[in-house]
């Protein structure tokens, strides 16, 4: 198998070189494009934390993607190598090999794809296959997809395939269709967009005889209906999902009082988005209710990549060190021991305002203000919208102002309330976080950025402080150093320093630091990472 993998890669390489050598004939023969990414860590022992050091002290995730385009035809492959996989990533990512491959034909009104592909219906609550390398997620379907468009009025899509889990394609089959009908296009409306959409998805898994006896369901079918409306800056989007029935292990099973080994539950969700954009003001309100919306690729598999749909946490996303200590983790259902929580209900509001230049408040260079509020509660019982315990609440205020040609300030205040038990108990941790992010340009190409952060809390590890300094020499070099210090309880410094070099589409970053155990989130989906200390080399390039 190893030899086969190497041979395949050599063949691929030969094809690549041949195609690239044909220089001027490239236009006639099509073109080849691709990207390469490596993320490697050398782990070291660290007595101050619970740092995990693998046996050979090394971890490396590598991705090579190649695409060939010739007119309306396209084909591509992706090779991945985990040598071995980095700590904290799904452990079913092992060894090296060709992981994804496809061929497609895209015509004016239709397209056909065979092999692996990514797609989603609506917001992804019913179905989404996607790649997120930060999470080690790749749920590409191996199968076929056909799309058809009639002018800009009708869009139809049909899919069939087996979702990827780890380095293998599962035996689960996903088959579905999605239809979008633009009423406004049919009516010829110029200022208003109105579309109704619908999807259906069937998921089939040949489950074991034991699981069937316990009450497991091999097949389930889900539906979704959607409305999209936009007029003069106002937006309304609504989505209803009936995800069909699925089974969960019954935490209260005792064989006597509760003889059910598995619980059959109906998954459903409602999502509504309201927005307005205009006159420098952007407002967005989102509300969502989730009930048993887990959609595993394979039942009884605990991998974080085991999802056939996409259920992101709809809260503000933070990018500063101290704002991400306890990010909100969405609760499509919470079954912990005998506790059976059906899901969550909540929402968020975002307001962005661009204070114009040459106004009293905006001054010479204007100012940007932002406000976000989000709150989520666990659901009290099945088939209900009644809230139980609070899961999350946050208020965030941001201010961005260019004071002079050389100096710019970003300020953030964030209040976060986090339920560590995920709704099993009502107790929460509260924290207040302050961030000042300052950029000073010494010359048009040399600049310094300084982040100062403070977290005040009476809970968990109590107070933290953090600082980050970055010196940039545009367009190639950047040097940075940061420290995150928990002076409230553990007295541990989490330091990090590094350098990055960028040239055209290639970026190389080398860093060394101590990282705390916690949760890494991307797009609102999270995975746990263990603490580690070590040197990290990242290279990304595309061509």
């Amino acid at each position: 198998m190893k030899r086969l993998t190497i041979l395949t890669l050599f063949t691929l390489l030969a094809a690549v070189v041949c195609a690239a050598e044909n220089g001027e004939e490239k236009q006639k023969k099509g073109r080849l494009t691709g990207s390469f990414e490596t993320n490697s860590i050398y782990y070291v022992e660290d007595g101050r934390t619970t740092a995990v050091v693998p046996e050979d002290r090394f971890g490396s995730n590598n991705y090579l993607k190649l695409d060939y385009y010739h007119g309306r035809f396209a084909a591509g492959v992706q090779a991945e190598g985990y040598l071995p996989v980095l700590q904290g990533y799904p452990t079913n990512l092992t060894k090296a090999g060709l992981s994804n491959f496809y061929a497609s034909w895209v015509d004016k009104s239709f397209s056909v794809t065979a092999g692996t592909f990514y797609d989603q219906f609506g917001s992804g609550l019913l179905f989404r296959s996607y790649e997120d390398r930060t999470l080690g997620m790749n749920s590409a379907l191996l199968g076929a997809r056909v799309t058809y468009n009639y002018k800009d009025i009708l869009a139809l899509k049909a899919i069939w395939g087996m979702p990827r889990l780890g380095m293998e394609f599962s035996n689960t089959q996903a088959r579905g269709a999605d239809l979008s009908f633009a009423i406004s296009s049919l009516a010829g409306w110029k200022q208003t967009v109105l579309a109704v959409e619908g999807s259906v998805l069937n998921r089939y898994e040949a489950i074991s005889a034991d699981l069937k006896e316990e009450g497991g369901l091999p097949s389930s079918t889900g539906f979704s209906g959607r409305v999209n409306f936009e007029s003069n800056g106002f937006i309304l989007r609504a989505e209803y999902i009936d995800a069909g029935e699925r089974h969960y292990p019954n935490g209260a099973y005792d064989g006597v009082n509760d003889p059910r080994i598995d619980l059959i539950k109906n998954g459903n969700a409602q999502l509504i988005e309201l927005g307005y954009s205009g006159h420098g003001l952007g407002v967005n309100i989102t509300a969502r209710r989730l009930e048993y919306m887990d959609m595993p690729i394979v039942y009884r598999n605990t991998s974080t990549a085991n999802a056939l749909n996409y259920i992101p946490a709809l809260t503000a996303q933070y990018s500063y060190l101290l704002t991400n200590l306890n990010p909100y983790i969405v609760q499509p259902s919470t079954i912990l021991g005998s506790h059976c929580g059906p899901g969550e209900i909540g929402g968020q509001i975002d307001i962005y305002y661009n204070v114009a230049r040459r106004t009293k408040l905006g001054g010479k260079r204007g100012m940007k203000l932002g406000l976000n509020y989000s709150t989520y509660y666990s659901l009290l019982k099945d088939r209900s919208a009644k809230a139980d315990n609070i899961l999350w609440q946050s208020i965030n205020f941001t201010l961005e102002k260019q004071f002079t040609r050389k100096f710019k300030l970003n300020f953030l205040y964030s209040f976060q309330e986090y339920n560590d038990s995920h709704g099993v108990s009502p107790y929460t941790w509260k924290s207040n976080i302050f961030v000042a992010d300052m950029l000073y340009k010494w010359t048009p190409t040399i600049s310094t950025r300084l982040e100062l952060q403070y977290l005040y809390s009476k809970h968990d590890n109590k107070d933290w402080m953090a600082a980050l300094a970055e010196v940039n020499f545009a367009p190639h070099w950047s040097i940075f150093a940061s420290d995150m210090y928990n002076h409230g309880k553990t007295k541990i410094h989490y330091y990090n320093a590094g350098v990055s070099y960028t040239k055209s589409r290639t970026r190389i970053q080398l860093s060394y630091g101590r990282n705390r155990a916690g949760v890494v989130c991307s797009g609102g989906v999270c995975r746990n990472i263990p603490a580690y200390t070590g040197a990290n080399l990242m290279i990304t390039t595309s061509f």
Binding site: V16, R31, L32, I235, L281, S319, Y353, F543
Partner: protein
């Protein structure tokens, strides 16, 4: 040994290419939610800056703000358009729409690539990534990452186009 072979193969595979690509044809959404084919962005008259960004990507925002601030002066020197491709998935696409207004990016053409199909077709694996595409749709320059001041290269490239 297996590791070394694999690493060498991957490294070798990337060396032969430094070719100039053409803008691929992929479907994305505009601010109204209507489907737009990326090939239709090429108008045969003006070059464009295409920037891949996300509301969660701070350097992306810094770069687009810098371009937005410099745009009035740059437009005195050359004619061009800025296309900002939001790679935010359904979690943030509604937020991104409000963000665009609140950041005063009214002069940009903002498109939404919710399942990152255009991003994959352009082989963007790290944001921010910015491209300069000439009036015929040929990618003539690209840069990944952002360091304050590197935006100057964009206008220099645009001015050098015939």
């Amino acid at each position: 040994m297996q590791k070394i072979k694999f690493a060498i193969l991957l490294a070798l595979a990337v060396i032969p290419f430094m070719g100039q690509a053409q803008l691929p044809s992929v479907k994305v959404e505009n601010r109204k939610g209507e489907v737009v084919n990326t090939a239709s962005l090429v108008d045969g008259e003006t070059p464009m800056i295409i920037s891949f960004w996300a509301v969660t990507c701070k350097p992306c925002i810094r770069e687009l703000d810098a371009i937005n601030d410099a745009m009035p002066d740059w437009l005195d020197e050359a004619s061009f358009r800025v296309v900002a491709i939001s790679t935010d998935d359904s979690r943030f696409s509604a937020q991104a729409r409000a963000w665009v207004e609140g950041h005063g990016w009214g002069d940009f053409t903002v498109l939404f690539d919710k399942n990152q199909e255009f991003m994959r077709a352009m082989n963007v694996s790290y944001t921010p990534q910015v491209f300069v595409v000439d009036k015929s749709g040929k990618v003539v320059y690209s840069h990944t990452g952002y360091t304050p001041g590197s935006e100057q290269e964009l206008i220099d490239v645009i001015k050098s186009l015939k």
